[in-house]
C-alpha cells in the first residue's frame, strides 16, 4: 500500500511565542519540532507498513525551507520518501488541504493517509477532514485505535465522557491521530544516516492550485492574552487553610 503521512513543523511546546508585526510570530529563537500529534500519525503509518508487505510510507509537509528538517526527522524515524510543498504563504486550512491533496492524488494508488488531529501552532483542527473532502474519501478523527487489513480500516475514536465511537471505512481513507494511539519510536542512529541520503522531492506551491488569495479564512490579528495577576498561597495548618480556601471560593471567587 502507498501510505501517506502529513506532518507540520511547529514551534517547540516549551517555546515562548512573541507576536512580531501583529500577524506573525518572532521566529528568532524558536526551536522547531514535528507537531506532537503528527508523530503519532507517523508511528501508525510505519506500523501499517510493517504489517502490509510491499508498502511504502511517504511524508508530506507544506512549509518554508526549514520544514525540510521536520521531514528529515520523519525519514529518520523510518519513512521511505518525503515531499515538501514549498510555501511560505499564509494559507488557510482549506488551501493547505488543497495543496496536500494535489500531492497525494497524483499517486493513483494512495491508501491510508495519516494526519494529526490538530497542529499545535494554529490549532485549527480541520486540515485532515478538509483533505478527506478534497480527496473524496472517508475520514475519522481523534483516533485512539486503528486496524487495517489493506481493504478496510476500523478505528476507535474518543467522543467525550470516556465513550468511544467505532468507525469502519474502505481504503483509501484519512485518519487523524490523538494521543494514546501509540508511542512514537525514536530515530535510530542508522535511521538518521539513512535519512541523510534520501532526497526530498520539492513541489512548488503554484503547481498545486492552492493560493493564499483564495483563503476562506483570513487572519486579521495576532495578540498576546492578558496575563492573570499572581494568586495567593493561603497560610496555616491544613485544616485552617482549607476552611479559609472554601470561604474564599464562596465569597470572593463565587464559584461554589
Amino acid at each position: 500500500m502507498n501510505i501517506y503521512v502529513c506532518i507540520k513543523q511547529v514551534p517547540d511546546t516549551e517555546a515562548s511565542i512573541m507576536v512580531k508585526d501583529g500577524k506573525s510570530i518572532n521566529e528568532a529563537s524558536v526551536k522547531w519540532i514535528v507537531s506532537p500529534y503528527d508523530e503519532y500519525a507517523v508511528e501508525e503509518a510505519l506500523k501499517l507498513r510493517e504489517k502490509l508487505a510491499g508498502s511504502r510510507v511517504t511524508a508530506v509537509c507544506l512549509g518554508p525551507e526549514r520544514a525540510q528538517n521536520a521531514l528529515r526527522t520523519v525519514l529518520a524515524m523510518g519513512a521511505d520518501a518525503a515531499v515538501q510543498v514549498e510555501s511560505a504563504a499564509a494559507l488557510d486550512s482549506w488551501n493547505t488541504a488543497r495543496a496536500l491533496a494535489h500531492v497525494i492524488r497524483a499517486d493513483k494508488e494512495f491508501g491510508v493517509v495519516f494526519l494529526g488531529r490538530q497542529a499545535i501552532d494554529g490549532d485549527a483542527s480541520q486540515v485532515h477532514l478538509l483533505l478527506a473532502g478534497e480527496l473524496g474519501v472517508p475520514a475519522a478523527t481523534n483516533v485512539l485505535a486503528f486496524a487495517c487489513d489493506g481493504k478496510t480500516a476500523r478505528v476507535e475514536r474518543e467522543v467525550g465522557g470516556g465513550a468511544r465511537e467505532v468507525i469502519e471505512m474502505a481504503v483509501p481513507c484519512v485518519m487523524a491521530a490523538a494521543k494514546g494511539l501509540n508511542t512514537p519510536r525514536y530515530a535510530s542512529m542508522m535511521g538518521i544516516m539513512k535519512a541523510k541520503k534520501i532526497e526530498i522531492r520539492k513541489v512548488p506551491l503554484a503547481e498545486t492550485g492552492a493560493d493564499e488569495a483564495q483563503n476562506r479564512v483570513r487572519l486579521l490579528k495576532l495578540s498576546s492574552p492578558a496575563e492573570k495577576p499572581q494568586g495567593q498561597v493561603i497560610p496555616g495548618e491544613p485544616a485552617d487553610a482549607v476552611r479559609e480556601l472554601v470561604r474564599r471560593l464562596r465569597e470572593e471567587a463565587k464559584v461554589l
Binding site: 490549532d123 485549527a124 473532502g133 481523534n142 465513550a163 465511537e165 491544613p238 464559584v255 461554589l256
Partner: protein, 314 residues
C-alpha cells in the same frame, strides 16, 4: 442583521448547556436566529428555544449520528435557508462535524472560538495552545464557527415561541460508517465541558489513589483530570489528560493536586476562571499561576477539603 443558524447538539435527547451559550450569543444584536435540531419532535425543546425565529426540525429515517449524513443534511439546510453564519459547540461532535460541513458546503470555518462578531463574521480563538489569540474573518458563503464551551455567559431564554419547520434527514451513503458507540464503564463528566475539574499529577503515585480525587469530585459534581505524567505512568487514562497534547478545558474551578505546573499542562487549563493548587513544594511553578494555593500533602489536604465543601454546600 444577519441570518444566523445554530446547530443544537443533543446528548441522548438531553439539551446540552453549550446550546444555551450559543443561543445567548446569537440572541444579541437582533439577528434572525434559526435553530437546527435533529429529532423526531422538537416540542420538548421549544421552551429553551424561545426568542429563536425558526426551529428547523430535521427528521425522517435514522437520526443516529452518522457524520456524512449530518454534514450533507446541514449543507442542504444552509443552502435552503440561506444561512449566513452557522454556530456549533466546540465539543467532540462539533470538532468532527463542522470541518466535514466546511468541506461539503465550501465554507470557511474557525474552531474553538472565544468570541464571535456575527455581523462582521469575525472570531477570536486561542492559537499556539493559548499562548496567543488570533482574530480571523471568514470570507464569502456561510461562515462556520465552533465556540468553546463555558465561555459565553448564559442568559435566560426569553421572547416569542419559535415557528417549527420540518427538514428532511439525508439517509444516503455513509462511507465513514459509525458501527457502534461503546459507552464508558462508568459515566464520566466530559472534561471539555465540565464546570469543575479536580486533577491529579505524578504525585498520585498509583491508580487506586485517584479515588481520593474522585471522592472530592463527587461532592462537587466535578470531572477528574490528570497531568501527562500521571497518564504516562498509568495512573489515569489518556482521555483524562489535560494539556497541550490532551484536552483543553475551561471550567469555572480547576483544582490541581500534586501537579507541578509545566507549561504544557498550564496551556490546557489556563483559561479556567479560578485555579486552586495543592502541592507540597512551596516553590512549585503552579503557585505562580494559581489563584489560590495550599502548601501541603494532597493526601491530607484533599480529604479535608472534601469534608469542608460538603459542610459548606449543606
Amino acid at each position: 442583521m444577519a441570518k444566523i443558524g445554530i446547530y443544537i447538539e443533543l446528548d441522548k435527547g438531553t439539551f446540552k448547556k453549550s446550546n444555551r451559550e450559543l443561543l445567548s450569543l446569537a440572541r444579541q444584536g437582533g439577528h434572525e436566529v434559526c435553530a437546527v435540531v435533529f429529532c423526531a419532535d422538537a416540542a420538548p425543546y421549544l421552551d429553551e428555544l424561545k426568542g429563536v425565529r425558526t426551529v428547523i426540525q430535521v427528521s425522517g429515517g435514522d437520526l443516529a449520528y452518522q457524520p456524512d449524513r449530518y454534514a450533507r443534511t446541514l449543507a442542504a439546510v444552509i443552502a435552503e435557508h440561506r444561512l449566513e453564519v452557522l454556530l456549533g459547540a466546540c465539543s467532540a461532535q462539533g470538532k468532527d462535524l463542522f470541518p466535514r460541513l466546511a468541506a461539503k458546503a465550501g465554507a470557511g470555518l474557525v474552531n474553538d472560538c472565544l468570541a464571535v462578531d456575527l455581523a462582521a463574521r469575525k472570531a477570536v480563538k486561542p492559537v499556539y495552545s493559548g499562548k496567543l489569540l488570533a482574530e480571523y474573518q471568514v470570507e464569502g458563503g456561510c461562515a462556520l464557527f465552533t465556540v468553546r464551551p463555558n465561555v459565553i455567559p448564559v442568559q435566560p431564554a426569553a421572547g416569542a415561541p419559535p415557528e417549527v419547520r420540518p427538514a428532511a434527514m439525508d439517509n444516503g451513503d455513509t462511507p465513514t460508517r459509525v458501527v457502534e458507540v461503546i459507552q464508558a464503564a462508568s459515566l464520566k463528566v466530559d472534561l471539555t465541558e465540565a464546570e469543575i475539574i479536580v486533577s491529579g499529577g505524578r504525585a498520585m503515585k498509583a491508580k487506586e489513589n485517584f479515588a481520593v480525587l474522585e471522592d472530592l469530585a463527587q461532592v462537587l459534581g466535578a470531572g477528574v483530570g490528570a497531568s501527562r505524567a500521571a497518564v504516562d505512568a498509568g495512573f489515569a487514562t489518556s482521555d483524562m489528560q489535560v494539556g497541550q497534547t490532551g484536552k483543553v478545558v475551561n471550567p469555572k474551578l480547576y483544582i490541581a493536586c500534586g501537579i507541578s505546573g509545566a507549561i504544557q499542562h498550564f496551556v490546557g487549563m489556563k483559561t479556567s476562571k479560578v485555579i486552586v493548587a495543592i502541592n507540597k513544594d512551596p516553590e512549585a511553578p503552579i503557585f505562580k499561576k494559581a489563584d489560590y494555593g495550599i502548601v501541603g500533602d494532597l493526601f491530607a489536604v484533599v480529604p479535608l477539603l472534601k469534608e469542608e465543601i460538603k459542610k459548606a454546600l449543606g
